[in-house]
């Protein structure tokens, strides 16, 4: 899990114990772990090749051989559902790795240096903050071309400002702290100071924000897939599977319902986990 070992307070045993005591957070953690596990073990769990087309057995109802039935190409729906965890988590990872570092970097620079640097950076942050995220992401992918990386890039490029604002406020508060002056007095300056002494202090709140952002990213990615702007076919992706099922929604409703339900459950698990994390790590919101 990402949070383990990301900071002194996060890694210790009492943290896990407190997480286990909140039933909703524990359920969320289990759900997220399950999705990650399914993604890692997909080839072992999936009963069929997700792209294998059994044309004689198209649009089959759920039955013994195909627990969730087959889609319009005769592909096993359960197997596609299982493999569908992969692009979702991969995109999630890309987005987090892009947006959080970018936002934190902007925030640290603005908060630490102040003055004109701060004014310019925060003005840009405000401008991007006022952008419509989803529509810009759709337009970006529609114009640059569909695909996992482009989708992640589009979402990350519009969602970093929240991290920048938070990091700036916290860095500016740290700036007035004695321990930073102490570090500077013993000669720690520049990059080393920001990396070793400022950044670690910003991580807990950034992690909470990442956790809170996860479900939004999952839903946005699913939206991209639904509009045909996500991973290219025939790769199994939940959003595009819902779109495929739309054509037969009135007769074989489960083809669209099942992947949508998977999106819902995954995003719900991340939300539960994020709420729990916030309650534990950030008592202000208790």
């Amino acid at each position: 899990m990402i949070v383990a070992g990301a900071g002194g307070r996060l890694g210790d045993v009492s943290f896990l114990a407190r997480l286990a005591r909140s039933p909703s957070a524990a359920a969320g953690a289990v759900g997220v772990a399950l999705v990650v596990l399914v993604a890692l073990l997909a080839p072992l769990i999936a009963p069929y090749d997700p792209n294998l087309q059994e044309t004689a057995n198209r649009l089959a109802a759920p039955q013994g051989a195909h627990w969730l039935g087959t889609d319009a190409f005769g592909r096993d729906l359960l197997s596609r559902l299982i493999y569908g965890t992969r692009p979702t988590l991969l995109l999630l990872m890309f987005v987090v790795l892009l947006m959080a570092p970018l936002g934190i970097l902007v925030g640290i620079l603005a908060g630490f240096f102040g003055g004109i640097v701060e004014r310019v950076l925060m003005r840009i942050t405000d401008i991007v903050m006022a952008f419509p995220r989803l529509v810009l992401a759709f337009a970006f992918v529609a114009l640059i071309g569909p695909g996992l990386v482009n989708g992640a890039l589009a979402l990350a490029l519009t969602s970093w400002p929240a991290y920048a604002r938070q990091a700036r406020v916290e860095t500016a508060a740290l700036r007035r702290n004695d321990y930073l002056s102490a570090a500077e007095m013993v000669g720690i300056r520049g990059f080393r100071l920001l990396w070793g002494h400022v950044l670690p202090m910003l991580l807990p709140s950034a992690i909470i924000r990442i956790a809170l952002d996860m479900s939004g990213v999952i839903l946005a990615a699913a939206g991209l897939g639904f509009l045909g702007l996500g991973v290219r076919p025939p790769t199994a992706e939940w959003g595009s599977m819902v779109a495929d099922g739309t054509q037969v929604i009135f007769d074989q409703w489960w083809i669209a319902a099942a992947p949508g339900f998977a999106i819902f459950l995954t995003s719900l698990a991340f939300n539960l986990l994020a709420d729990g994390l916030r309650d534990i790590l950030d008592p202000r919101h208790g």
């Binding site: 952008f131 114009l143 640059i144 071309g145 702007l229 995003s267």
Partner: protein, 336 residues
């Protein structure tokens, strides 16, 4: 004097944000592998007609000149001709935008009413049954893919139960007989005086508006609850309690007037996000608004339409956002 200064600063920030939006969309067109000149003349065109198209589109000019050209185009609302509909993008947008505005407005009225109630009553007894229900609703609202919710509702209420009419804004019966005077179908059917037309429009609106409402409901309920809870811990609320006021009196007489500005902000921001959420909802319900126009354009690779739609939705979003900022700035100062 002070007010002029505030208004000026607001205008500058609005202009900068809109400029940023234009810069970003311009960068997208330059990064796009789609060549607008090829799109215009086709891939089998001769070199000379291709060159003529490039010159007509101004693609042979240096980048800064191209940007200025683009900026003037965006500012005048002239986005060129849509490749898929063959109409000017501006008139396409003028035709589709009212449908989106109508849908989003009905949805935000429902979402705000329900969300504020949920949040306020949940905060009155935190940990109670009502709080748990409100928490569940907002959790589901935050987690559910809106396009999937729309599909399921169509399946249930249209295909299975026959309670709601199918996709679209009006029955075929009324579609061509009701004159489009305002573009808002509720108003048009009301004005037309045709029996049953207004009810038909309302019935068509019910499902998509409910789905879109869900998009706003969760956020409004959660933020309202947090806000009211924080205020209830303030000293003025405790004082009111100490003087013997019941919790509903404290909330409705003391707390709510104090946080009215922030509640309006929450709803206004949700309204802006509905303009975005409309893109997916309209696609599911075949609602002929700007969202569906945009997604159709995306499938067709119709660059002028994509840009026009994005800029118009984006500009409305930015305008709502900065207007809210202005309103909050004023109420916050009014309180201080």
């Amino acid at each position: 004097m002070h007010f002029v200064w505030v208004a000026l600063r607001w205008l500058i920030s609005l202009a900068l944000t809109l400029l940023g939006l234009v810069v970003v969309t311009f960068a997208m067109t330059r990064l796009s592998p789609v060549d607008p000149a090829t799109q215009m003349v086709g891939s089998h065109a001769s070199a000379s007609s291709y060159q003529a198209a490039r010159e007509a589109l101004g693609l042979d000019q240096p980048l800064p000149i191209q940007f200025l050209h683009y900026l003037r185009m965006a500012a005048s609302g002239d986005f060129g001709q849509s490749i898929s509909t063959g109409q000017p993008v501006a008139s396409d947008i003028a035709r589709t935008f009212p449908a989106t505005l109508e849908l989003a407005t009905v949805a935000i009225i429902m979402g705000a009413a329900l969300g504020l109630c949920l949040g306020i009553f949940a905060a009155m007894r935190p940990g109670g049954v009502f709080d748990a229900v409100a928490r569940l609703i907002s959790l589901v609202g935050y987690s559910v893919p809106i396009f999937w919710l729309g599909l399921l509702m169509l399946l249930l209420f249209y295909a299975r139960l026959h309670w709601a009419p199918g996709p679209g804004r009006l029955d075929v019966l009324f579609q061509y007989t009701v004159p489009a005077r305002t573009g808002f179908v509720l108003l048009d059917t009301w004005l037309s005086g045709k029996p049953g037309a207004f009810r038909d429009a309302l019935a068509h609106l019910a499902l998509p508006a409910t789905v879109l409402m869900f998009y706003a409901l969760a956020g409004i309920a959660r933020l309202t609850r947090a806000l009211v809870l924080t205020e209830l811990g303030q000293e003025y609320a405790l004082t009111a309690y100490a003087k013997g006021a019941a919790v509903h009196r404290v909330v409705f007489v003391h707390v709510l007037p104090n946080i009215a500005g922030q509640l309006i902000t929450i709803c206004a921001l949700a309204y802006a996000s509905l303009l975005e959420g409309a893109v997916l909802t309209e696609t599911v319900f075949a609602w002929p608004g700007i969202g569906r126009y945009l997604t159709t354009a995306m499938f067709a690779g119709d660059m002028p339409a994509i840009l026009g739609g994005t800029i118009v939705i984006g500009a409305s979003f930015v305008l709502l956002n900065t207007l809210t900022d202005l309103a909050v700035g004023r109420t916050a100062r009014g309180r201080a």
